[in-house]
């Protein structure tokens, strides 16, 4: 298995090759085949401009969005061990602004980098060159200081459709361009050519039985594959511990809103092909697989003087990923459904790989630095155990031959001396 892992304390990215059963925390345990820095060092390879998000562009480039508004592009096909830096865009954002996501549109030759301030930069690669100026779009004009767009995702099922949301800004589904749009060079020169159409605007849930408004802070958005006609089904996770399910045709409010954690949920991803299970992690050590369809109707008993006794439903927990002694918050994870593995990385400086269904720890690698972003490059196991015995036998055979000839030589030498 091959992974790319961001190294927060150096500002670089690391490449890890490891097979199943690797555990660096065991003395004389199986070690990873390779751990090395992945990117060429540049002016921005430091902590202050560390990599927050990265993405692979068409298997040719590696895009890294750094703190401080820098977007570096590296060549994946470079011949040296480290990827060569091709270009760095300095985007005009405030120094405190964080990139929230990178969306690539390979067929249209551009990528989008969204920031928490609500700016989206469109970077167009004209003839695979980097001379074109990035175009700035503002997703929402009227964002105040307390508002942030912490989530911005593209729908994998309908091109041109995006969803965004964040702190004190509720979920919106927007269309940024038509599904069959042919882009021209002029489109990337002027923001006026981009008409953002709001397709759906969510409403907050009703206040609870005490009349308290539920605060909004969306951290993750997932599009669901079974969307209704002319509508969308979405799942959001919030930093107030909620998982919400939206059906844009049925209601503006979520069709299901469940409090699954007391702490902020940081990451969320589908755990199976049917998309009825998710894996979530919070800012503590809670890493769990949850069902989106099995609802525990009596999850929380609430005794209230004014509203009486009633029960609040929650989603069924299907199991924790706790093997390997995770002690820190998980900041990023990636799921590979083909290989049935999930990789976690976070503040305790370990990369952990689990089997999704059995929840067994497959490998655990100490990275030396904190991890804020990771990617599974290759989910296939190297199966070195199967290959090795044959090659080993061969090697031994050749070694023996060598030894036989060596001894003679040594003897001769002794005589000479």
């Amino acid at each position: 298995m091959k992974f790319l892992v961001s190294a927060d304390e150096t500002g670089n990215v690391k490449e890890v090759h490891c097979s199943r059963g690797v555990d660096t925390s065991v003395k004389d345990g199986k070690q990873p085949l390779l751990v090395q820095t992945f990117l060429q060092k540049g002016d921005h390879t430091n902590v202050k401009n560390r990599v927050i998000k990265f993405k692979n562009y068409n298997h040719t480039w590696f895009i890294a969005a750094r703190l401080g508004g820098f977007v570096s592009i590296y060549d994946l096909a470079s011949e040296t061990a480290e990827c060569d830096l091709l270009h760095t865009y300095a985007l005009p954002v405030e120094s405190t602004d964080k990139p929230s996501s990178i969306v690539t549109q390979e067929e249209h030759n551009f990528l989008m980098v969204a920031f928490e301030s609500g700016s989206v930069f469109i970077i167009y690669f004209k003839d695979n060159e980097f001379s074109f100026e990035p175009l700035r779009l503002q997703l929402r004009e009227d964002l105040s200081d307390s508002q942030k767009l912490t989530a911005f995702v593209a729908s994998p099922y309908s091109p041109g459709v995006f969803a965004c949301g964040g702190r004190n800004t509720d979920l919106q589904v927007i269309r940024m361009f038509g599904a069959n749009k042919k882009f021209k060079e002029a489109d990337f020169k002027d923001a006026k050519n981009w008409k953002i159409k709001v397709l759906f605007e969510a409403e907050n849930v009703e206040p609870d039985h005490l009349g308290i408004e539920c605060p909004i802070w969306i951290s993750q958005i997932l599009f669901h594959k079974d969307s209704p006609k002319k509508g969308y089904r979405l799942i959001t996770a919030t930093r107030h511990g909620h998982i919400r399910i939206y059906n844009t045709i049925e209601d503006q409010e979520p069709v299901g809103s469940y409090k699954v954690s007391e702490r902020p949920i940081l990451t969320m991803a589908y755990a199976n092909e049917d998309q009825d299970q998710v894996i979530i992690t919070d800012n503590h050590t809670f890493v769990v697989r949850m069902s989106l369809v099995d609802v525990d109707a009596k999850a929380e008993r609430i005794v209230s003087a004014s509203a009486g006794t009633f029960y609040r439903p929650s989603l069924k927990m299907l199991g924790k990923y706790s093997e390997g002694g995770n002690t820190g918050a998980i900041l990023d994870m990636e799921v590979s459904l083909d290989a049935n593995i999930v990789a976690f990385g976070g503040l305790d400086r370990y990369l952990r790989v689990f089997d999704i269904s059995s929840r067994k720890l497959l490998s655990k690698v100490y990275m030396g630095t904190q991890i804020s972003c990771l990617e599974i490059m290759d989910d296939e196991d190297d199966d070195e155990a199967d290959v090795d015995p044959e090659t080993k036998e061969e090697e031994e055979f050749w070694d023996k031959l060598d030894d036989a000839s060596d001894t003679k030589v040594v003897k001769k030498r002794k005589v000479e001396e």
């Binding site: 304390e9 003395k27 902590v47 503590h284 050590t285 820190g328 918050a329 503040l347 630095t369």
Partner: protein, 298 residues
């Protein structure tokens, strides 16, 4: 084993409790006599031939929890890259500047403890806690005034039980529990501390987490101690408990060094480490971490 069996068999046959106790005491006394004899003989032998003693000591090293410590790969590896303290240690010339406050509505003991801390923390200011400000707001306040660290003393039920350290400007945040506080007056033969910047000894902060904790204390005290004060602060980590001690040393002659304790003494234990100013958890103590007695985190 055989002897123990014999003893128990002898005792089993005696039905009178008082007699049994007497016989047992006699057997024990005899055993200890034998032991003493053996030791005396060995001591005599070793006095004549000191090499024997050396050999015996070398062969009988007692096993402790520390020697049985489970493997931790982070001990061998160096700190990679730059952490939050890097700039303070390597680039900037600024000296540490510390603000101390207490938990809201603190009792007398918290202020007394603040007095104790202010004795040895250099360049320190005490501010009475105002209830309307949260920790994050206080951190912002300190940031604007170029403080490098914020210490909050936690008091509960008229006892100081915790210390929060926030390293500024961008964290991390540490929470330690405080136990076994002994004030200077209660230490026999204590000395009087002077206002010199002390030297700092950090013992056994070995793992990656331990280094993060060690660097916090390193950041609070100025890099250049005033050696003429001959004062030294020790933070000794053993089995994840951090012992705070303060001494004055004197070189009596070329071989002998004298130590005088200055006080106070207290013990810290890391409970929580958070990134930033009380943001995501980096490490938190859980009761089941103590299940394996040979696993240490610092």
């Amino acid at each position: 084993m055989d002897e123990a069996k014999k003893t128990s068999e002898i005792l089993k046959g005696i039905k009178n409790k008082h007699r049994r106790q007497k016989v047992f005491a006699a057997i024990q006394a005899e055993k200890s006599k034998e032991k003493h004899k053996l030791r005396a003989a060995r001591a005599k032998e070793e006095r004549e031939n000191p090499q024997l003693k050396e050999e015996r000591l070398a062969n009988n090293v007692p096993e402790t929890l520390e020697t049985k410590r489970v493997f931790d790969e982070t001990i061998a590896t160096e700190i990679e890259g730059e952490d939050e303290f890097f700039e303070l240690f390597n680039k900037s010339q600024r000296d540490p500047k510390v603000l101390i406050t207490t938990s809201p509505n603190a009792r007398k003991c918290a202020y007394e403890f603040a007095d104790i801390l202010m004795e040895f923390v250099p360049n320190v200011t005490f501010v009475k806690r105002k209830r309307e400000y949260q920790m994050k707001e206080m951190a912002q306040y300190c940031n604007n005034r170029e403080f490098t660290d914020l210490i909050v003393i936690n008091e509960d039920k008229k006892k100081v039980n915790g210390l929060t350290f926030i390293h500024l400007p961008e964290g991390p945040t540490y929470y330690f529990s405080v136990t076994s506080l002994t004030t200077t007056e209660r230490i026999k033969g204590h000395g009087r501390a002077t206002l010199h910047t002390p030297e700092l000894i950090l013992n056994n902060f070995n793992t990656r987490l331990g280094k993060t904790v060690g660097r916090l204390f390193q950041a609070i005290f100025p890099a250049q101690p005033e050696v003429e004060g001959r004062q030294v602060i020790t933070l000794h980590n053993q089995r994840d408990y951090i012992f705070f001690r303060r001494h004055r040393y004197v070189f009596r002659d070329e071989k002998k060094v004298g130590l005088q304790e200055l006080g106070p003494q207290f013990t810290l234990k890391l409970r929580r480490l958070q990134k930033g100013i009380k943001d995501e958890i980096e490490w938190e103590f859980k009761a089941d971490m103590e299940r394996d007695k040979r696993k240490f985190y610092l």
